[in-house]
Symmetry: C2
Subunit: 137 residues, 2 copies
């Protein structure tokens, strides 16, 4: 079945592959739109009437702890989630609200102030107007 990948990914992390978790991870991997908890909940609730929003919160937190997804806090008061965990930045268009991925330079620290530090996590957020929404010259 098409959820095999998700089951394997969950097992590989040593966490239980419950039905809600499989569906949430699958949704996140198939919808690279950086959805919020609410968006995920609304989308899945239709076909899983017993799903609780708490389970979405819990699952996403567990996924994050195990590197299966990351949080995108580009907007105040709305946490988005992304199953693409390789290094990349997020651009939010203030016109159409889309969140677009982009690549970042190999090194984000351009001075020596943090020489010798250990980097655990990097977040790069850019806000502006995307090419599609920008009035052409």
């Amino acid at each position: 079945m098409s959820t095999n990948n998700e089951v394997l990914a969950l097992k590989k992390c040593g966490i239980g592959a419950s039905h809600p978790r499989i569906r949430i991870l699958q949704y996140l991997r198939e919808n690279r739109t950086h959805p919020t908890v609410d968006e995920i909940y609304i989308a899945l609730h239709e076909s899983m009437p017993s799903l609780s929003k708490m389970t979405v919160y819990n699952s996403l937190n567990v996924f994050m702890e195990h590197g299966l997804c990351r949080d995108v806090r580009i907007e105040e008061g709305q946490v988005r989630y992304d199953a693409f965990v390789d290094d990349h930045g997020h651009f939010k268009c203030e016109k159409c609200s889309k969140v677009i991925d982009f690549s970042t330079p190999p090194s984000i620290i351009a001075d020596s102030s943090l020489k010798g530090s250990v980097i655990k996590q990097t977040d790069v957020f850019v806000r502006g107007i995307c090419p599609d929404c920008k009035p052409s010259v």
Copy 2:
């Protein structure tokens, strides 16, 4: 008096130079520790007993609207403020909790996915262990 700079900065933005605003801006400029609303409130309340926390919220929001400071949302659930508004990134040490400024590369977008976009605001957050807290080899 030493608050002249703040009065001028506020007037230049076209916003009222009330006593609370002068003191809050002054505190922010003299304490480059990226304080939270609570930290600012506690620090100033001592010498301004009538100060309301709402005023700190209001003032910081007005300052942000006029480019006098920026918010640093490097931690979930805690907004910090920074009167240094030139482009720079923020590093948070997970051991000592300090937030350290660093410079960022001239261009933060390393691919062509956003060619033609308008950039309004950039935030670069790095979490890890700072040189002081890292056990030396």
